[in-house]
């Protein structure tokens, strides 16, 4: 009986890659997240939507502890990854971030060469083997479809790339570290439609190997891309469901108002 329960627990864990339990976040006296319970599935794309300031980015950044550097940040509750609480004292934050990659709103390549950008995450782990690094850089750039565009310019500054290329480079840089989860904070909001389409296609391909959580302001994007969508409002999780269901037949009036553009 107990064995059976264990296997159920394990399969649950596998299904629920990320879990939030009664999470509250404060910035000094301001309550940014007001108590959220949520399970995020493995190898799915989960979209966070909601008006600006609703707490979705803050919530996203809990999963790789990027809020730790924000002045006045305080958190209650638990965040679990594969069943492990990542806010326990003994958790190695650097190790955690190798497992949970992040892509930011504005492409933010380092002011270094394309090669150095992709190799950085590996080099800081102490990997010095040139051949391994080279293979890894090539591999990561191929995964994001950038290799053919830059293979002869690996030593050129990453800042010379276009915005869309830079963002794909940032994704490649994240993949090189081999995370299992990728957090994306409005990854296409600073890009033109063509670059956006490329990135979306890429994200869709990535879900085979990775669990992806994406914050977006673009309803269409959330609709086409994600398997699950969560609607946040004023620091609360209003509705969380399969994207198809949420966008066609939302349970809550607030969600409907938001996705039909009546507010926000």
């Amino acid at each position: 009986m107990k064995e059976k329960k264990d296997t159920i627990d394990k399969s649950l864990k596998r299904k629920h890659k990320l879990q939030a339990k009664e999470v509250k976040v404060f910035y000094d006296d301001f309550k940014a997240i007001k108590g959220i319970d949520m399970n995020i599935r493995a190898n799915k794309i989960t979209a966070f939507i909601g008006p600006s300031g609703c707490g979705k980015s803050t919530f996203l950044r809990l999963f790789n502890r990027m809020n730790d550097y924000v002045d006045g940040f305080r958190m209650e509750g638990e965040i679990l990854i594969d069943g492990e609480n990542i806010y326990k004292k003994k958790v190695n934050v650097e190790q955690l971030r190798k497992q949970v990659g992040m892509v930011f709103q504005k492409p933010n390549p380092f002011p270094k060469s394309i090669y150095e950008n992709v190799a950085y995450g590996l080099k800081i782990q102490g990997i010095k083997d040139k051949n391994y690094l080279r293979d890894k850089v090539e591999d990561s750039l191929k995964q994001v479809g950038l290799w053919s565009e830059v293979e002869n310019d690996l030593n050129k500054s990453a800042l010379a790339l276009s915005g869309g290329q830079q963002q794909r480079l940032c994704i490649a840089r994240t993949l090189a570290v081999e995370p299992s989860i990728i957090l994306m904070d409005e990854p296409t909001s600073a890009l033109d439609p063509i670059s956006t389409a490329k990135i979306e296609e890429l994200i869709y391909e990535l879900k085979e190997k990775y669990t992806i959580v994406i914050v977006t302001h673009n309803m269409q994007q959330a609709g086409r891309l994600s398997d699950y969508t969560a609607f946040f409002y004023m620091g609360e999780l209003i509705e969380y469901d399969k994207s198809k269901k949420l966008f066609t037949n939302p349970e809550k009036q607030q969600t409907e108002n938001y996705i039909t553009g009546r507010f926000g």
Binding site: Y69, D71, K98, F104, K106, R173, V177
Partner: protein
């Protein structure tokens, strides 16, 4: 309508007032440098730079003072650089929120405003007497290092602060530790700014006179210093000494030495500007 005209007039008036103010400083500086040049330029030749001091104005040179200045410059850099940069990194990246940090910050800003002669007195007591360095190059360098430390710290902090937050975010998000982020992203990205600040601080140090006189730097040194523990003179002291002599020949010498000193500071500032531009274009 009337109001718009009035505003335009005011605009024009202020523009010309601004131009006049800008040129006032420039013109005064040009007059000053011009008159120095007229006085001193014919005295400058290779002999003037390589000759030892002498009682006779026409045979006296700046060699010992120049070498003293070079020694001081190099040692001051070696002392002030690691200390200043490390302190700046600590204040900017590690100690951000503590009360201790804000206390330190206020103190550093205040130190930048302390008259240089006070540093001389400090150097005299601590380095010359307590640490028994004597009136040596080493004591002078430590004193000047203290003097420019606040400038180095403040300018380094500004440069580190200017690195976009997105670079830090990217580095941390890839699993970099704080020190890795600092040493591999923040310092390289802010290197140009840090260098500029240091060179500007050093060009201040090379012109300092008062603190070195207080710690006992000499106006007359017969030989160029050969080790950090030797007695020394520096260019500003040499200039000061020559100007205070009655013979006209020494006045000419002083003007010529001033030209050399100006040249050194201009070149240093030029290098600072060069690096700033180069690193700015690299970051774009």
């Amino acid at each position: 309508m009337n109001n718009i005209k009035k505003n335009r007039l005011l605009d024009q008036v202020f523009k010309f007032w601004g131009i006049a103010c800008t040129f006032l400083g420039l013109i005064l500086l040009t007059i000053f440098i011009g008159s120095i040049f007229v006085d001193g330029i014919q005295r400058i030749d290779w002999d003037f730079i390589t000759s030892l001091p002498s009682r006779k104005a026409e045979r006296a040179g700046i060699f010992t003072a120049l070498m003293g200045s070079v020694w001081i410059l190099v040692l001051t850099t070696i002392i002030a650089l690691p200390v200043g940069i490390a302190a700046a990194i600590y204040l900017e990246e590690y100690a951000k929120e503590s009360k201790m940090a804000s206390l330190l910050e206020v103190n550093i800003s205040n130190l930048a405003g302390v008259p240089s002669i006070i540093y001389g007195l400090l150097g005299l007591e601590v380095f010359v007497r307590i640490l028994e360095m004597g009136a040596s190059i080493l004591a002078g360098s430590f004193t000047l290092a203290l003097l420019i430390l606040p400038i180095v710290i403040v300018s380094t902090r500004e440069s580190i602060k200017a690195v976009p937050k997105s670079i830090r975010d990217a580095s941390y998000a890839l699993g970099a530790s704080k020190w890795q982020t600092i040493s591999q992203q923040l310092l390289p990205a802010s290197f140009g700014g840090i260098l500029t600040g240091i060179i500007l601080a050093l060009s201040r140090a090379v012109g300092e006179t008062a603190p070195l006189i207080v710690i006992g730097a000499l106006a007359y040194v017969p030989f160029a210093p050969a080790s950090p523990l030797d007695e020394f003179s520096v260019l500003p002291i040499q200039i000061f000494n020559w100007i205070s002599r009655p013979q006209h020949g020494f006045e000419v010498n002083a003007a010529a030495a001033i030209i050399i000193l100006l040249l050194i500071t201009f070149v240093m500032n030029g290098i600072a500007v060069y690096f700033r531009n180069r690193w700015q274009s690299k970051l774009k």
